[in-house]
Symmetry: C2
Subunit: 458 residues, 2 copies
């Protein structure tokens, strides 16, 4: 394969400064992210800049040669957000992994895009602080990717999503200009909120190279954990609605459906037979009345046994272990399409019924877990490992799930992003006029359309 003038220029300008990948075999690993159903194109090169200046150089070159750029963090997208296109430059931020500063007094950190979420959280923990947003991928995904997708997580029922933790950004625009947005203050209304606009823009407006983030106090008193089992999803959904309406200080509220529980039980033999739904709730440990309230509401909604309540961290870890097994248990069954719809919390039971009906109608297997306190569901469709692309019945069932979410006043994606997989659905959610605004915003940032082409906007 002959080297293109762009790749030659890239190697020439950056080869001595950072890693530039041009070998075809090595490039293969940059084609896909964790949305394995999206095949991904073949990149012309991949670059792993060490500095913001390196990123600026790479983007300036790509822009001048008209080469599309696909930014990439750890590649954990479940929507194809980091899927490569043929002939593109994959720009991975993984080598930009410095925590530039961490100010315990103001509870603000400035971190480079390649810092792994859990690494930042552990650095904060040394000062009694925490980085609140905790997507399930927190041990491997990066802050840059988290910011680019406005990642959610388990704790965001209390602390909000990634956008609520980002105060400012360092961004390299498509033409190589470096822009800083926001301020290190919690209040700032100087001009349009470019920070918030870039959060969740999925690499289509520029490359996020660093973020100024808020940290929260790490709770000193361990949370109280409540686990309740139910004989029906309806009963568990009713419990969720009652708890949300009663308003205890919930840190985490996760719901697992019967299919998920059975797949875990088949694997780990945890004695979960006969349980059709499980609710795992954590509340602020300083408020024992809130823990008692949650348990009482679960019982009133029809929990099959007395809910387990514990304020012991080791016991809490055991209780949470079932939740952590949900994805691995699904993956044992086959290839997974992890969906990500959101509805108002009161519509959660209805939404779960719709998911089950859609799966039954098309004869496909679905396991649902939900960040129930946020009304955010992950119906996970399972199909043969051998399949390439999404099998038609799965696509048809997923389509019905999206339609149901919108009908119930919700969203087609609560935390994974649009990527490639939801692209054709975006306009159905936001309508043609908002789509036109989205395109105009895209053009304002990236007039040549080179940044992560084909993501978010078709």
């Amino acid at each position: 394969m002959s080297t293109s003038p762009f790749v030659a220029a890239l190697v020439d300008e950056l080869g001595g400064r950072c890693r530039v990948v041009t070998d075809g075999d090595l490039l293969t690993s940059y084609r896909q992210d964790m949305a394995t159903v999206v095949p991904g194109g073949m990149p012309a090169a991949a670059v792993l800049p060490r500095t913001t200046a390196d990123v600026a150089t790479a983007l300036r070159l790509a822009s001048s040669y008209g080469v599309p750029v696909v930014p990439r963090g750890a590649g954990t997208s479940l929507a194809g957000g980091a899927s490569a296109v043929d002939g593109c430059l994959v720009l991975s931020t993984e080598a930009m992994n410095a925590i530039r500063s961490l100010d315990p007094l103001d509870r603000v950190a400035v971190v480079e895009a390649g810092v792994v979420n859990a690494h930042l959280d552990r650095a904060a923990a040394e000062h009694g602080l925490m980085y609140a947003p905790d997507p399930s991928s927190f041990e491997i995904s990066t802050i840059g990717g988290n910011v680019a997708t406005n990642a959610g997580g388990l704790r965001c029922v209390k602390y909000g999503v990634t956008r609520q933790s980002v105060l400012g950004l360092e961004v390299v625009l498509a033409d190589g200009r470096v822009v800083e947005t926001g301020a290190a203050t919690t209040k700032n209304v100087a001009g349009y909120d470019l920070t918030g606009l870039l959060v969740g823009s999925e690499g289509t407006l520029g490359v996020i190279t660093a973020a100024t983030v808020r940290l929260h106090r790490r709770p000193v008193v361990p949370p109280a954990t409540i686990v309740a089992a139910f004989g029906s999803l309806e009963a568990a959904g009713a419990a969720v609605a009652q708890i949300v309406a009663a308003g205890p200080d919930v840190l985490l509220m996760e719901l697992l459906d019967g299919t998920t529980l059975r797949s875990i039980d088949t694997w780990k033999r945890m004695g979960l037979s006969g349980i059709e739904a499980m609710l795992v709730v954590q509340v602020d440990g300083r408020l024992p009345d809130d823990a008692a309230l949650v348990a009482t509401l679960c019982t009133a909604a029809g929990a099959v046994d007395e809910p387990a309540v514990s304020d012991d961290p080791a016991e809490a870890d055991e209780l949470l272990a079932i939740r952590r097994l949900a994805y691995p248990a699904a993956e044992r069954l086959g290839q997974c399409l992890v969906e990500d719809v959101g509805v108002p919390v009161s519509r959660l039971p209805e939404m779960i019924r719709r998911v089950e009906a859609a799966a039954a109608r098309h004869g496909v297997t679905v396991l649902t877990v939900a960040h129930a306190g946020d009304g955010n569901l992950h119906p996970t469709f399972v199909f043969d490992h051998g399949a390439t692309g999404i099998p038609d019945p799965v696509a048809a069932a997923a389509d019905e799930v999206f339609a149901a979410a919108l009908e119930l006043g919700g969203t087609i994606t609560g935390e994974h992003g649009v990527g490639i997989l939801k692209r054709d659905w975006l306009e159905r959610q936001v309508g043609p006029d908002a789509m036109a605004l989205q395109r105009a915003v895209k053009a304002a940032f990236d007039p040549l359309g080179l940044m992560n082409p084909g993501k978010v906007l078709a």
Copy 2:
């Protein structure tokens, strides 16, 4: 004065549906907002639409006649954000004051732009809920204006600013198209965050006609209130930094400087002599240890007496009364320019010193109150009622205050917005490249530049 073809068309299409003001005397009241130092131009007409369709009609007409539009809520801007320009159409949302829905289960309300903040909060209170953002103008300012300026307030140290309470918007674009953004869910990553972009856009991107907002549980247990007096601002500033670092569950943390306290004492004789700073803190009443912690930290930082601590609502109101007197006390002294800088909390004492030094250097009177928990200061410059415009020494002192805020890593405006008054400072904060992006975003929404011209962007 002869009627212009635009005004004639406006009266023709909307005169039978809603109030259209064309009388010169009556129009005078639509020239200015509460930034009285900004004179404001003479509108060609004012319209008070009753429905979103009326707004769309008005904007379509303005667009086709090339008439600039100045949207207006209650006109409480302190930055000239609602100041009229000659020949414009003032579009007041005050007649759109319906709460379209309030769902206590999902804690979501859909409210029209003209709903007064306090009215929404009281409607929420009937269900044990509250609308958290509480700018000082909450009894008179409207949700539309609050959203357009991303208003802050006292409670936002715990609950965040207006942007954190807005889930979705109904907006009429410059050409009359009606767009809905966001969703009724707490998580939503479907496309760019147009909702967040419109919040704080000060009427320059479109007219916000309705907002879908989150409500919070209204605390059942009354907060604990702590009031501490200090012999120096430095001591009070140190107390603030210590409290923020220790991390109790603070609902409100307000700081008053000596000049403010003396102006209140001269008026109300409250025995405040010798006090150079006062701190008023409220914490969650369910956590008495947090209240004790705040009192202890105030004493350790040098409070002159034992801090007053109360969990009695009537007593708390008395303790808070001093804070509420701060603005009226300043207004008794003369015409006010209320500034609005923000810094990281640890820089608060330094920032207050800089404000005092700037005022002393230019021989002007300044009273400072601060939402201390957010690092948001309101240095209020007082000058003769007779003055037209901002006197030079005040302008020079304010200029130094802005420069100091930026030097300390802060912002020129924490919650009031850029409006007209901070327009020339915006680029100094955000830099030329971010300014170019702001202009491109503006052009994407409002290609003819008719929406609230001269605000935010010069």
